[in-house]
C-alpha cells in the first residue's frame, strides 16, 4: 500500500528551501521508498530541475525507474484556460474529469476520452506520452490532431515552447507532434494546447445488442458504409457464445441534421433505449487487463473464450481484455531508429 507524506525533509537543503510542504512528499510503497517533488508552477519546476542537476541528484519523470530515489512530477500543474477560438490550454497534470467539466461549462469539447477504466486516473501529460488511441473522432479528428502546441521542461531545466497557440500556425516541421506515444523519459510535459470544438446542438448515441457475431458485423458494415460522419463506431465482443455482443455508435450535428439522420440510419428502431458505453466500461474494468492490438485481425488471432474485445471501428484498432499476462510483443515494442533520433532533439 502506498503512503505519501507531505512536507518531507530531503537530504538536500537547496530542494527543501525551494519547495513548499505541499510540493515535497516522502513516498512509502511496499518495496521501495522515494521522494516525490510536484511543484505547482512551471518556473519552480525549471528551478528544481536545475538544482537537481547542479547537485548531481539522479531523478526520473516516470515511475518506471530502477534506482532513482527522486521522482519529479507534473501532477500539480493543473492550470486550465479556454481562450478565444476554442483554444484550450491545459496543464500536464490536469485530469480528464477536470477538463471535461470546464469544457462543458463553457460550451466546448475536446474528444479526450479515457479508455477503459484502466486509465481512468491518467493525467493529461502521461496520457499523451503513452499515446493510447481512442475510438472517438469529433469532426473526424483525433485528440492528436487537435494538438497545436505544447510546453515542456527538459531534464536540464530548459523550458521549451513548441508549436503555437493559433490553430493554423505552423512554420516548418511540427515538433510538438513528436511526443504522442513517444514515452519520452527525459522530458516533462507542462502544458498542452488544443484546438477544441464547439459542442454540437444535438448528439445521438446509439447502442445495439446481438446474440450472434454475424448479425453484429452485418449492421456494422452497413453503418460504416452508409454513414460517414460517425464520431464513434465501436464493437464490444465476447469470446463466450452465450454472452451478447454490443455495437455502440455516436454522431452529432444541428437539430435539423439529426432529424434527417434518424430517417436515414439503418435499424435505428432496434437500438437500445439506454446508451451502454459507461456500463460496458464498468463491466469490462472488472474482467481483466487491456492490451492494445493494431488491427481486428490481430485481435481475433489472440482472442480466447471468456475474453473480450473492444474494437474501435473508425481506426481499426482495439483492446483485448483478458486475465492472461500477455507477452511484451503483444503490447509494447522496442524503439525504432527514427524514434531514437527524434529523442535526441530534446537532449
Amino acid at each position: 500500500m502506498k503512503k505519501e507524506m507531505p512536507g518531507a525533509k530531503t537530504p538536500w537543503n537547496a530542494i527543501n528551501q525551494l519547495l513548499a510542504p505541499d510540493e515535497c512528499f516522502a513516498v512509502q510503497e511496499e518495496k521501495q521508498s522515494y521522494f516525490l517533488f510536484a511543484p505547482k508552477q512551471v518556473n519552480k519546476l525549471s528551478a528544481l530541475l536545475l538544482r537537481l542537476q547542479d547537485q548531481n541528484i539522479p531523478f526520473s519523470f516516470s515511475r518506471h525507474f530502477a534506482d532513482q530515489s527522486v521522482l519529479v512530477s507534473n501532477r500539480a500543474l493543473q492550470s486550465l484556460a479556454i481562450g478565444k477560438s476554442a483554444v484550450i490550454e491545459a496543464g500536464g497534470g490536469c485530469e480528464n474529469q477536470q477538463i471535461q467539466t470546464e469544457l462543458w461549462k463553457q460550451g466546448y469539447e475536446l474528444g479526450w476520452e479515457e479508455e477503459l477504466p484502466f486509465h481512468a486516473k491518467c493525467r493529461l501529460a502521461d496520457f499523451w506520452l503513452k499515446g493510447y488511441p481512442s475510438g472517438l473522432r469529433l469532426r473526424s479528428r483525433s485528440l492528436q490532431d487537435r494538438l497545436i502546441g505544447l510546453e515542456l521542461a527538459t531534464s536540464s531545466g530548459r523550458l521549451l515552447h513548441l508549436g503555437h497557440k493559433h490553430p493554423s500556425a505552423q512554420l516548418g516541421p511540427a515538433l510538438h507532434q513528436t511526443f504522442w506515444g513517444s514515452q519520452a523519459e527525459g522530458i516533462c510535459l507542462t502544458k498542452l494546447f488544443f484546438q477544441g470544438e464547439f459542442r454540437p446542438a444535438e448528439r445521438i448515441q446509439l447502442s445495439w445488442k446481438f446474440d450472434s457475431l454475424d448479425d453484429l458485423w452485418e449492421l456494422f458494415s452497413l453503418l460504416k458504409t452508409k454513414i460517414l460522419s460517425w464520431e464513434r463506431l465501436d464493437c464490444i465482443l465476447s469470446g463466450s457464445p452465450q454472452e451478447q455482443q454490443f455495437l455502440i455508435a455516436q454522431l452529432s450535428g444541428s437539430k435539423e441534421e439529426m432529424a434527417a439522420f434518424r430517417q436515414e440510419c439503418p435499424k435505428i428502431q432496434e437500438a437500445l433505449p439506454q446508451y451502454q458505453l459507461a456500463a460496458l466500461k464498468r463491466y469490462l474494468g472488472q474482467c481483466g487487463q487491456a492490451f492494445l492490438f493494431s488491427s481486428l485481425s490481430k485481435l481475433r488471432a489472440a482472442w480466447q473464450t471468456s475474453e473480450y474485445i473492444w474494437y474501435h471501428g473508425l481506426i481499426d484498432q482495439g483492446w483485448l481484455i483478458t486475465k492472461r499476462s500477455l507477452s511484451f510483443e503483444a503490447s509494447e515494442r522496442p524503439r525504432l531508429d527514427w524514434e531514437k533520433k527524434m529523442a535526441m532533439a530534446w537532449v
Partner: protein, 429 residues
C-alpha cells in the same frame, strides 16, 4: 545566370577542377543509374531547374541528378554524404517559396518523375506511392471505387505529393488536418543514406530536413455523397458576429471571405448537407449555389504569403496592409479562411525587392499578434523572415533534430534555419 531576380543569392560560378572532383566521383559511380545534367553534360537544360513557381529566387544548379528509380536514392545519398556534397531535392517544382531553389554548391536530386502507384487497396482506400505522384493521378485511380485525394490545389495535376507534404502545401481553403489524415507514413532516406519509416506528420513541413522521401503511404478519402458550393455577399462585422455559428456547422469544410464575397463549401452525407444547406439559405438570404466557389485565383509572378491571424485582429491588419501597399504602390488581393483564421495574400506589381514590403509587413504582423505560416513551405522566400516567429529553444531543437538525421548536414544547408533574434538585416550582393 539571371541576376535581376536573385537578390540574395551569390553567383554560383563554376567550381575549379579540384573542387569538382567529388562530383565527378559521384557522377561516375551513378552514371548508369540515372541522368546527370551539369556544365559538362547538357548544360543548356540546367536553367529548367533554377527555380520553382516563384521568380524572386533563382539559381542555376551545378549538377542535377534524375535517378531511374527510387531504389537508387539511398546509395546516392550515401555517396554524397561520403563526398560531403550538399543535396537539394526537387519534386514537382510547383512551390511558391523557393523551396527547391538549388544550393550554391551541390546536386539537385529530382524525385518528381517517380510517379508509380506501388500498391492500392480499393477496399480501404490505402495506397503506397512514389514521391512524384500528383493528387490528380491518385484521384483518378481511386475514382471508380469512390475514393479521392483530398488535396485541392491549383497545381493538382503537377505538384508531387512528397513536395506537398514537405511544404505542408494544400488549398488555401484547407486545413493542416487534411494533410494529417491523408498522409499516413513515409519512407525517407536520411542524410547518411539510411532508410526510415516514420509517421508522415513528423515530416510535414520539414522541407527535406530529415531526408529524401522515397515512398508515401496514404489514406484516400471517400468521395462525399454530396458537395455543395455557394456564394453570398457579406461585410466583415457580420461574418465575425456569426463565427460561433460557422464553427458549429459540421458539414462545413470551407468558408472563405475576400472582402466582399463569401464562399462556402459543404460536403458529407446527402441528408446532412441538404439539411445544412437549408439552414444556410434561411440565415443568408442572398446565398446562391455555384458550380465552383473560389475567391483567390492563383497567379504566377506574385508574392504569395499566408498568415495565422487572430480573428479579432483581422480587420485592423487588413487596414494596415492596404495602407502599406498604397505607400509602396503595390496591389494586393486577399482571402481569409474563416475556419482556420488564416489570411492569404497575393502582392502584385512587386518591381523592387520583396524586402521593401516584407520588412514592414513582418513588423505589422508582430504588432497584431499574427505570424507567417508555411502554407506552402518556408523556402528561400520566407527563411530570412522567420526569426520573430521562432523561439530560440525551438530553433535549437530543430537544429539538433536535423543533426540527428543528417550529421554531415548535406541537406538544407544554409537555407532553412534563421539566425536567432530579429535579424531582418541582410547583406545583399
Amino acid at each position: 545566370m539571371d541576376t535581376k531576380a536573385s537578390i540574395y543569392l551569390l553567383s554560383s560560378g563554376v567550381l575549379n577542377q579540384e573542387e569538382f572532383l567529388p562530383y565527378r566521383h559521384v557522377i561516375h559511380q551513378f552514371y548508369d543509374q540515372g541522368e546527370f545534367l551539369s556544365f559538362e553534360h547538357q548544360s543548356e537544360m540546367l536553367s529548367c531547374y533554377q527555380s520553382d513557381s516563384q521568380q524572386l529566387h533563382t539559381r542555376r544548379p551545378l549538377v542535377v541528378f534524375k535517378p531511374h528509380s527510387a531504389a537508387v536514392i539511398a546509395a546516392f545519398v550515401q555517396a554524397c554524404c561520403q563526398e560531403a556534397i550538399p543535396l537539394a531535392i526537387r519534386c514537382g517544382g510547383t512551390g511558391l517559396m523557393g523551396g527547391c531553389v538549388p544550393p550554391q554548391k551541390g546536386i539537385l536530386l529530382l524525385t518528381g518523375h517517380l510517379r508509380q502507384i506501388l500498391h492500392y487497396d480499393s477496399q480501404t482506400g490505402q495506397a503506397t506511392v512514389e514521391p512524384g505522384i500528383t493528387p490528380k493521378q491518385l484521384s483518378q485511380r481511386g475514382f471508380q471505387e469512390g475514393w479521392e485525394c483530398p488535396l485541392e490545389m491549383a497545381a493538382n495535376g503537377v505538384a508531387g505529393l512528397a513536395g506537398c507534404l514537405s511544404t505542408s502545401a494544400r488549398g488555401y481553403h484547407q486545413s493542416l488536418h487534411t494533410l494529417n489524415t491523408f498522409f499516413q507514413w513515409v519512407d525517407i532516406i536520411d542524410g547518411e543514406g539510411n532508410e526510415h519509416r516514420m509517421p508522415a506528420r513528423f515530416v510535414c513541413g520539414a522541407e527535406g530536413m530529415l531526408g529524401v522521401i522515397i515512398r508515401l503511404h496514404v489514406q484516400l478519402s471517400r468521395i462525399p455523397q454530396m458537395r455543395l458550393e455557394g456564394q453570398f455577399c457579406s461585410e466583415w462585422d457580420s461574418m465575425q458576429d456569426q463565427w460561433d455559428w460557422f464553427k458549429a456547422q459540421s458539414s462545413l469544410i470551407s468558408l472563405t471571405w475576400d472582402g466582399r464575397q463569401c464562399c462556402v463549401v459543404l460536403a458529407g452525407e446527402e441528408w446532412r448537407v441538404q439539411a445544412a444547406w437549408q439552414q444556410w439559405q434561411e440565415r443568408f438570404k442572398s446565398i446562391k449555389r455555384v458550380a465552383k466557389a473560389t475567391n483567390l485565383h492563383f497567379g504566377l509572378g506574385v508574392l504569395n504569403l499566408s498568415h495565422a491571424v487572430p480573428l479579432y485582429h483581422m480587420a485592423s491588419l487588413l487596414h494596415e496592409l492596404k495602407a502599406l501597399c498604397e505607400t509602396l504602390s503595390l496591389s494586393f488581393t486577399f482571402v481569409i479562411n474563416m475556419l482556420e483564421e488564416a489570411l492569404h495574400i497575393q502582392i502584385t506589381h512587386l518591381k523592387q525587392t520583396s524586402d521593401h514590403f516584407l520588412v514592414p509587413w513582418i513588423n505589422l504582423l508582430e504588432k497584431h499578434g499574427a505570424m507567417l505560416i508555411s502554407h506552402y513551405g518556408v523556402g528561400a522566400v520566407l527563411a530570412p523572415y522567420l526569426p520573430p516567429f521562432y523561439q530560440e529553444g525551438e530553433l535549437a531543437c530543430l537544429k539538433q533534430l536535423h543533426q540527428a538525421f543528417d550529421p554531415r548536414q548535406i541537406m538544407l544547408r544554409q537555407r532553412f534555419f534563421p539566425v536567432p533574434g530579429k535579424s531582418l538585416e541582410k547583406i545583399v550582393l
